[in-house]
Symmetry: C2
Subunit: 154 residues, 2 copies
DNA sequence: GTTGAAACCTCAGATCC
DNA sequence: GGATCTGAGGTTTCAAC
């Protein structure tokens, strides 16, 4: 999987605007439509492009709260780690769950409609989960940067 | 801005698949194409839909490292907070920067191609930034869940 | 093996009801 | 919200480099 300059341009442009038409995209990268479309399909099949998503505005849709939760478990046996991951995967308000090195085991990004809903989620579904030793939460005051994806040169 | 059941369906479907054609979308929500397109345009103009993005695979594109950095500043005066935000906004590897309540001032999500590149970024551009008191970093071992966006009923 | 040209067919967008 | 229409874009086929 080696990406040439045109592939990287395609990836960068589609990361910026996922609904760009193929003819626009082709023009921007200096190709005609058919070879451009073939490259896009190839990038999708190779897994370089995982999907396309509309970015919704949380606040407009009623999700005014974003919280980061640092979770430590009592047991770090693989089966216990996996069980916790499975548990949070089923909670729609938990959008991200990353296992970390160091003192804390997981960091979670959680969204909620308001503080009350978050407290309810925290106490009844997170702190109360099996094997959870401690949960430290931090409310997001404001978000200065929130770019999905990764840097792409080209 | 009140969203009815069809609006929420549209939002949910476009969050799942941002390249769905309007005719597909219309069929799924039980409308014909023109009114469906009018709703989508309205949702875009109201700001409920902020944009569309291809989700790229970090590992395939050479970004094998994801790190969370907890940053504390020496001064929390608004001008100093804003200066720090401006500083990290210009670093492409810093994808997210959220101001938090509590002991730490900011949490950053950072991607890097490898550990060496991350260490370089950390020491030369983050720890060395003006007004930074401490930076604690945690490497992501694995990511159990990473859903962009928010829960949408419908 | 990848590009480009042409054909076809579906979709987006505008208009009107 | 739905029906109709037109022009534009997506997609396939095939020839050429």
């Amino acid at each position: 999987m080696a990406f040439d300059r045109i592939d990287r341009q395609i990836l960068r442009l589609l990361q910026e605007d996922g609904r760009m038409t193929n003819v626009d995209l082709a023009e921007r990268v200096g190709l005609t439509a058919p070879p451009c479309l073939r490259r896009v399909r190839a990038l999708e099949e190779e897994g370089a492009i995982r999907g396309y998503h509309a970015a919704l505005d949380p606040v407009t849709l009623g999700y005014s709260i974003t919280v980061f939760a640092m979770v430590s478990l009592r047991s770090q046996a693989e089966s216990d780690l996996a069980a916790f991951e499975e548990h949070v995967r089923a909670i729609p308000e938990v959008r991200e769950c990353h296992m970390l090195n160091g003192e804390i085991d997981f960091i979670l990004k959680i969204v909620a409609t308001d503080l009350r809903a978050f407290q309810e989620l925290l106490t009844s579904r997170l702190t109360a989960a099996p094997n959870v030793a401690s949960v430290k939460t931090s409310l997001t005051i404001r978000t200065a940067k929130n770019d999905p994806g990764i840097p792409v040169a080209g």
